[in-house]
């Protein structure tokens, strides 16, 4: 009997979800079909975009309806569309598994998809025609795949969605297929993802082999898994079979590939070659969270393994730090945002690793909103300045007419990302950081993550202070000649000194964003701000495995009622039982009761990190409370540094105080700018040898053996014919001779066979 109600749903019967839940899959398919029809009909208006917005809005409404319909007390619900695989023992249905985790994820996926589709309707408007339809085709297909991934009822559906989002990511990164860098980036994304997918596939097989099923409903209700959890919580990892312990290791490889963790993160920055709505939706908010979703969904399995969660935690931490250091040294604002995505994903994984799935889930939600907001703002900048993204060439955009909402959106996103107090990002990051200090053995992770939070604040506001504040200066980017309303100007000469209020005599007019972009940015800004309110509302008392648990906020409510739930013993009681002082002190009686309960339970709860009964503190404070201040401090320090180096005293767009300081660090900034040469290392380590082998082994094999075989097959009839052809000499007597020979043979046969059979002489 464990106090960790990891399988909160285990004892419930599986309810039946309503069939209209399948609309969440069906409406994006409708969107796919309509974009195909538009492509076939050669539609040259923005109709595909608006139809897409309609379909996805419908999907969002359906999700909201599902949220209102779903009652977690009844346990997870399943709806099956049809029987997909039935091969021997292996069965997999094509259906949906609805629980709170699913709905939690799908709400922001469909909501963001709708908003970003609206944004894209304007952003991609210069491409109307077949390109436009192609974009929305892939967009809709992506939403469908993501829905399959998140809502799928078994690992096969998840895998389908996994591959589907990978495909759509490839299609959309390579949207500008005439650009070589985009094509290369798309290939890189797909291939690196594929490496992770191998882990996922193996995990799928191993799950089937070990548990006999890949359906969530059966897996998470099985007594076998419950038994493993019990053993794990008792600290008896040796009794859990190695097969079961390997499943999460394999699954996490897939998660790292899809969610761009070290060492498989290299594709995400390059994926910025795709159009910005794609970056916002796929590579910030939805697809990259699929790995987090996977780990969250399979949290019980991860708990049953001794090393899985520690590996996840440390990988996330290392990734967070690494990406932050690289992001500090980049100049392309979209790249910076990409690295920040990688870094924040590292946070989410670290959160999962330090046993706070709630924190990770909440961070996913908030990150989705503010990262999408940041990307869309960067996209607006790119769209308006003909593809210019270099922060050395843009400055003071808040003062340019028509860019107010973009600036505001960017500001809201930045404060969330940096973790300014009382923003949603602040609360969600804090949950993770606090738990890192609470869980024994992960304090190092906590300090590293705090430091990274400081770096995050620094580079985020570096972007904001460089691009949106300071003297007004802008140069158009490389897309200058593509836009109809730009003048075909050559290079813009730099402004050496002084602020110029009027840039119009250069002839380049920035293209201020239209209603669609502004609407979406405003909506997202508002949502990001409101998301902080989710930290306060939505709390409920839940009945988990016979215990009462007071979930404090919306995310906690949602996550703790799903398979991802994990409650440490001291969560029940706060820190009163351990005697640590809280701000809200409890009475002595309740403290004594709690303490008694706590010690009674404490003895039986271990985890991957050992005994969980005794939480740790940070700097003598209860981490949950103390973190509010500590992380705020780190964040503010980062912002101040950013202001000092990048805004204070800056007179030009290109130069700032940081340049002088950076020179003192020698080659290190340059290495950071080159992403610590990880790509080059991979090239030498993997791509180079593979290339060599391909060129010298596979290519000759293909050319001489495979092609040779095919050619030989073609050559044989010709040879055969050339052997037989001389018999058609055209000569009359030759044919007659042939006839005579045939007659002779026939007579001989009659002579020897027939007559001797007839009654030999």
């Amino acid at each position: 009997m464990t106090t960790v109600p990891a399988l909160a749903q285990a004892t419930h019967e599986i309810a039946h979800a309503p069939a209209w839940a399948l609309l969440i899959l069906g409406l994006p398919i409708l969107g796919v079909l309509q974009s195909m029809v538009c492509a076939l009909l050669g539609v040259k208006s923005k109709a595909p975009a608006f139809l897409t917005v309609g379909c996805l809005a419908g999907a969002f409404v359906t999700t909201a309806a599902l949220y209102s319909w779903f009652d977690p007390a009844n346990g997870p619900a399943v709806v099956t569309a049809w029987e997909w695989f039935a091969i021997g023992d292996f069965t997999a249905t094509f259906g949906l598994y609805i629980d709170t985790l699913t709905i939690f994820w799908m709400l922001f996926v469909t909501g963001l998809a709708t908003l970003i589709a609206l944004y894209a309707s304007e952003y991609m408007s210069h491409d109307v025609g077949p390109g436009y339809c192609r974009f929305f085709f892939a967009f809709n297909l992506f939403v469908f795949s993501m829905a399959c991934l998140v809502m799928g009822a078994n690992l096969a559906m998840l895998y389908l969605g996994w591959e589907g989002v990978g495909l759509c990511s490839y299609l959309l990164i390579g949207y500008f297929y005439k650009k070589d860098s985009a094509v290369q980036a798309a290939k890189k994304a797909f291939i690196v993802n594929r490496i992770g997918d191998l882990g996922l596939a193996l995990g799928l097989y191993l799950t089937f082999v070990h548990f006999g099923t890949i359906e969530y409903a059966e897996l998470f209700g099985s007594a076998q898994l419950e038994g493993y959890i019990d053993l794990a919580m008792a600290g008896n990892y040796a009794a859990i079979p190695a097969q079961a312990q390997w499943i999460p290791i394999l699954l996490m490889i897939g998660a790292f590939g899809k969610s761009a963790q070290f060492p498989l993160y290299v594709w995400l920055p390059d994926a910025m070659e795709g159009p910005t709505p794609v970056s916002a939706l796929i590579h910030a908010a939805t697809m990259v969270t699929a790995g987090v979703y996977l780990v969250a969904r399979f949290y019980p399995v991860f708990l049953a393994s001794e090393y899985a969660l520690p590996i996840v935690a440390w990988t996330g931490t290392v990734t967070a730090l690494l990406a932050a250091t690289i992001g500090m040294a980049q100049f392309d604002i979209k790249r910076i945002m990409a690295y920040s995505t990688v870094s924040q994903l590292g946070y989410m994984f670290a959160g999962l690793g330090v046993l706070t799935p709630t924190g990770a889930g909440y961070h996913v939600l908030t990150h989705a909103f503010f990262k999408a907001l940041l990307f869309l703002a960067c996209g607006a900048v790119m769209h308006g300045f003909a593809g210019q993204l270099d922060l050395r060439k843009l400055s003071g955009l808040r003062r340019v007419k028509g860019w107010g909402i973009v600036t505001l959106g960017m500001f809201v996103g930045c404060i969330n990302l940096a973790g300014i107090p009382f923003t949603a990002g602040y609360f969600s990051k804090d949950t993770i950081l606090a738990e890192a200090f609470v869980t024994p053995g992960t304090a190092a992770i906590g300090w590293i993550l705090l430091f990274t939070a400081g770096l995050t604040a620094y580079y985020t506001f570096r972007v904001f202070f460089r691009v949106f504040m300071g003297p007004v200066h802008y140069e158009p980017g490389d897309d200058l000649h593509d836009h109809a309303d730009d003048h075909a100007h050559g290079e813009e000469h730099n402004h050496d000194a002084g602020e110029h209020g009027d840039e119009h005599d250069h002839g380049f007019h920035p293209h201020a964003p239209g209603w669609a972009i502004n609407t979406v940015l405003a909506t997202l800004a508002v949502c990001s701000l409101l998301a902080s309110g989710l930290y306060i509302v939505g709390g409920k008392t839940l009945d988990l495995h016979g215990h009462d648990y007071k979930a404090k906020h919306y995310a906690s409510t949602m996550i703790q009622q799903s398979t991802a739930s994990f409650v440490t013993p001291y969560d029940h009681h706060g820190f009163e039982a351990a005697g640590i002082h809280h701000d809200d002190t409890a009475t002595a009686e309740t403290a004594a009761d709690d303490h008694a309960e706590d010690t009674a339970h404490a003895a039986v709860v271990h985890g991957p990190y050992g005994d969980l009964a005794h939480p740790n503190t940070v700097l003598g404070m209860d981490p949950h409370k103390g973190m509010y201040y500590i992380s705020a401090a780190f964040g503010l320090v980062g912002i101040v540094l950013a202001w000092w180096f990048h805004l204070a005293g800056r007179t030009t767009a290109a130069q700032c105080r940081m340049d002088a300081v950076a020179r003192n660090f020698g080659p290190i900034p340059r290495w950071a700018e080159h992403k610590w040469y990880v790509d080059e290392l991979y090239e030498k380590l993997f791509r180079g040898p593979l290339h060599l082998i391909s060129n010298h082994v596979f290519r000759p094999f293909d050319k001489y053996i495979v092609d040779g075989l095919v050619n030989a097959i073609g050559w044989l009839p010709r040879i055969g014919a050339s052997i037989i052809r001389p018999s058609q000499s055209g000569e009359l007597q030759g044919y007659a001779a042939g006839m005579i020979v045939g007659l002779t043979i026939l007579l001989f046969l009659i002579l020897t066979v027939v007559i001797s059979i007839g009654g030999g002489a």
Partner: protein
């Protein structure tokens, strides 16, 4: 069953024959024709020798049949020359010789109508046509001027292979013949009681086959006996003797039990000739074939006429066209010269 000719010797004969013919066929440089012919003759002679020896072994009194061997030899030798002579006219003439020899063989087989029909139709019509065409088509040089002769006449096409193939065929045919002899059905007969008189030999055969012949009562050479018995009682009802009279006509002698004789001579009117028999067979048994043969001949006649005519027409049209073209060209030339 014992072979009439030992197979090894038969094949050896075939081999020799093949060798000889291959040498005898027209060849550009060597004049081995004579040698070839001799070798072929040796092969043939070997067969004859074996057959004669066999016949001698069985019945020393029986002499080989001169006429058959003569005609056969002439037929085969002439046939050899047909295929080996380098000048087509001689081939045709030798072929006529072959026809005559074949006619002789037909005569030996009592098919005198066919023999003469062969000579009249074949040698007298078909071969003459051949000769006409050969004259038309061959530009034969003077005797002795070998170089101008057409190459297709002087060289033969793969003589060795052809001779080999041909004589393998011959070997197999003859082997079949001898191998299959035992299984040949016994000569069939037509018990034709409507016509009273048959050739004596035929009657004899009929009697033998219907088991009415009494061998013990063979009266004389050329006489056969019929004994009539009552089918129910088995009593003898008398005897019929069919004999050949001194003149060679058939005679039927009825002898009853008391020894009374009555003679009936079937004179030559009752012995249908070959032509009559043939005619009867033709019209009674194969009327449709006659019609078809007629149609075929008609078609051949029409066809030949049509073939020849078209060519002429075509040639004339061609010539006319040529004339017109030359005329026009000339007119142009003169016109151009004038202008």
């Amino acid at each position: 069953m014992e072979h009439l000719v030992h197979p090894l010797l038969l094949y050896l004969a075939c081999l020799l024959g093949g060798l000889g013919i291959a040498l005898a066929l027209p060849r550009p440089r060597y004049k081995l024709a004579l040698i070839g012919g001799l070798i072929a003759a040796a092969g043939g002679g070997l067969v004859v020798l074996m057959l004669s020896l066999k016949a001698y072994d069985t019945d020393p009194g029986a002499l080989p049949n001169v006429f058959f061997y003569a005609f056969a030899a002439i037929a085969l030798a002439a046939g050899l020359r047909v295929i080996t002579h380098h000048r087509p006219v001689y081939s045709a003439l030798y072929f006529i010789l072959t026809i005559i020899a074949t006619a002789g063989l037909f005569l030996l087989l009592s098919a005198e109508f066919m023999a003469f029909a062969l000579i009249i139709i074949y040698a007298g019509a078909i071969l003459i046509t051949y000769l006409f065409v050969i004259m038309l088509a061959t530009q034969a040089p003077a005797e002795g001027d070998e170089e101008l002769q057409a190459e297709y006449d002087t060289t033969s096409r793969e003589p060795w292979v052809a001779a080999g193939a041909g004589f393998v065929l011959l070997g197999i045919l003859t082997t079949m013949m001898f191998r299959g002899v035992g299984e040949l059905p016994a000569p069939a007969y037509e018990p034709d009681s409507e016509i009273l008189a048959q050739l004596p030999g035929k009657v004899e055969t009929i009697l033998t086959n219907s088991d009415l012949r009494d061998a013990e009562d063979l009266l004389a050479d050329g006489e056969t006996l019929l004994r009539e018995t009552d089918p129910e009682t088995g009593e003898s009802l008398g005897r019929l003797v069919i004999a050949r009279s001194a003149e060679g006509h058939a005679q039927v002698i009825a002898v009853d039990d008391e020894g009374n004789e009555r003679r009936l001579t079937l004179d030559h009117e009752f012995t249908p000739t070959n032509i009559e028999r043939l005619g009867i067979n033709l019209l009674r048994d194969h009327p449709m074939t006659i019609e078809i043969a007629g149609i075929i001949l008609l078609m051949a006649m029409l066809g030949a006429t049509v073939l020849a005519r078209k060519q002429v027409e075509f040639e004339e049209a061609l010539k006319a066209h040529e004339q017109r073209r030359l005329h026009d060209a000339k007119a142009e030339q003169t016109g151009a010269a004038e202008a």
